[in-house]
């Protein structure tokens, strides 16, 4: 019961409306990758998904934010967050392997390939994690997700949200082409995400 309630509160707070452009909600295994402007991003995308898909989707969230207080840990536990420690990444325990182990053959992921929150409307360069995820699991559909106005609802460095309206756009799925290089793939993914901004 708590999951749907958290999703409802998140939707009311951010007035988020989801648009699916050239893409349909599906329970197949996906990696949703989005631009990152606010700590609420992972929660909001997860909430925007239809119920059955929500239950198999795990957002990747920063442990230093979502693990900090009792309430945040509680909320994170109920939206299936995979808390990743950004400071403590070991060579033998790469986060990509960890994520793939966690999702198994059922779950989908929500990731933020910029790695950190950008402060404005720009979308920064992508880190390589998305490429390695798709390389190790070529069957995963990578779905670009554009978040609009979230940076005004909860900007960097603020802890209280302002309930403005935001919009979430899901774009058409993409896959790693055979022989595609890392930078090519990451550029293509970023282009796909940028294109959603103006639809």
């Amino acid at each position: 019961m708590t999951g749907p309630l958290i999703a409802l509160i998140a939707k009311l707070l951010t007035g988020a409306s989801a648009r699916w452009v050239d893409c349909q909600p599906d329970t197949c295994q996906r990696v949703y990758f989005a631009n990152h402007t606010s700590h609420l991003d992972s929660l909001v995308i997860w909430s925007a998904l239809p119920g059955p898909i929500r239950s198999v989707t795990r957002p990747v969230a920063a442990k230093d934010y979502w693990g900090k207080t009792m309430l945040r840990r509680y909320v994170a536990g109920h939206f299936n967050a995979l808390l990743i420690d950004r400071k403590d990444i070991k060579v033998h325990q790469s986060p990509v392997d960890l994520l793939l182990r966690e999702i198994g053959s059922v779950n989908s992921l929500i990731v933020f390939p910029e790695g950190h929150r950008s402060s404005g409307r720009q979308i920064g360069a992508f880190k390589s994690g998305l490429y390695y995820l798709c390389k190790k699991r070529p069957d995963l559909e990578a779905v670009p997700v554009h978040l609009d106005n979230m940076n005004r609802i909860l900007p960097r460095g603020e802890f209280l949200p302002v309930p403005l309206l935001s919009c979430i756009t899901f774009g058409s799925p993409m896959w790693l082409e055979s022989g595609e290089q890392k930078t090519e793939f990451l550029d293509r993914a970023r282009e796909n995400l940028l294109r959603l901004k103006d639809i």
Binding site: A18, R19, D148, N149, R152, P155, L160
Partner: protein, 334 residues
């Protein structure tokens, strides 16, 4: 519960009118070869839907406790402010000011209206709110375009929250007819002037919303039929002098014809309807100017998938304080 026949006649009349409009809209939608612009039919149908929503909102006031109406108007105002601020560019340093505007001033204004504290709700936003916004933005330590930023937030607060909150505030007035007021004023202390208050405040709120909405419709309609002289083409290409005058005139006639539902006589009802139709028109113009400045067609397209509440209630926001104050000045004892 409503047992008053006048209220029932009014409500049933409005329902019939809306029913006819809906039927016409659906009929036109099903006739693609009618030669009418399909976009026009779509706009018409969207407006009808908004009218149903607004009318159910004020009809609820007839049957539910007035505090429920205050809460419903509060939600409407909250949503309008969300749209207003989302459309208005603010700087990151305005974040905490906005937080207090949404979390403190918006609910507090409607709580005070619900408690009937006129002295407090009439000053909360125009005095304390405006001072707070100015000071809080200064405290944020970002002087860039200071006046512009404070003015934007203040405009949102006044137009969406303060103005709209005065519509449900009508429910808390002790309204009399002007004849009764002069009786009460001249009555010697101790004697009983034998008058009773109007008492059907919810019906008056319904009347107000209905006249403003019909004013919108008449202005649009007359603008299409007679309109030649566009008032300000770069602000609104469809608002004409002819539409404004003929539309407001029609609204005044309608208002006078419906005087029996109000505490006003025919002339008073006609004049008040004229004034609120004109202020409603002015509200539409002002919101249009804000939208053009931001380069959007309407608030609905700003965040795709949202209804554009502000597009529908812009005229109400402007007309509500005028109607409230006219009623309070001339038809109550204060």
């Amino acid at each position: 519960m409503v047992s008053d026949p006048i209220t029932w006649i009014f409500v049933i009349g409005v329902l019939l009118l809306l029913g006819v409009a809906t039927t016409v809209g659906q009929f036109l939608k099903g006739q693609p070869e009618s030669g009418l612009n399909p976009a026009l039919v779509q706009t018409f149908n969207r407006r009808i839907r908004a009218w149903w929503l607004l009318c159910s909102l004020v009809a609820a006031a007839l049957f539910l406790p007035r505090s429920v109406t205050v809460v419903l108007f509060g939600l409407l105002a909250f949503w309008a402010l969300r749209e207003f601020i989302t459309l208005t560019p603010t700087r990151l340093s305005d974040h905490r000011t906005l937080f207090w505007v949404f979390i403190l001033f918006t609910p507090l204004q409607f709580v005070l209206v619900g408690l009937g504290k006129y002295d407090l709700y009439s000053t909360l936003i125009p005095v304390y709110g405006l001072l707070f916004v100015t000071a809080r933005v200064a405290f944020s330590g970002d002087p860039k375009r200071f006046l512009e930023r404070t003015a934007k937030i203040q405009a949102g607060l006044v137009l969406c929250i303060y103005c709209l909150s005065l519509a449900p505030a009508l429910l808390y007035l002790d309204i009399y007819t002007t004849a009764d007021i002069s009786k009460l004023r001249t009555a010697t202390p101790g004697s009983d002037p034998q008058v009773s208050a109007y008492g059907k405040n919810a019906l008056l709120l319904f009347y107000f919303v209905f006249i403003v909405q019909m004013g919108d419709a008449f202005q649009y309609l007359w603008g299409k039929i007679l309109g030649h002289r566009v008032i300000a083409p770069s602000v609104s290409s469809s608002r004409t002098w002819e539409g404004m005058l003929a539309g407001s005139g029609s609204a005044a006639l309608l208002g006078a014809a419906l005087y029996w539902a109000t505490p006003f006589n025919e002339w008073q009802a006609g004049c008040i309807a004229l004034v609120i139709a004109l202020t409603g028109f002015a509200g539409g113009m002002a919101m249009s100017a804000i939208k053009r400045d931001r380069g959007v067609q309407d608030y609905g397209t700003l965040v795709v998938g949202h209804g554009g509440v502000l597009d529908r209630i812009d005229s109400l926001c402007f007309a509500a304080p005028v109607f409230f104050l006219l009623t309070k000045t001339f038809f109550t004892l204060s």
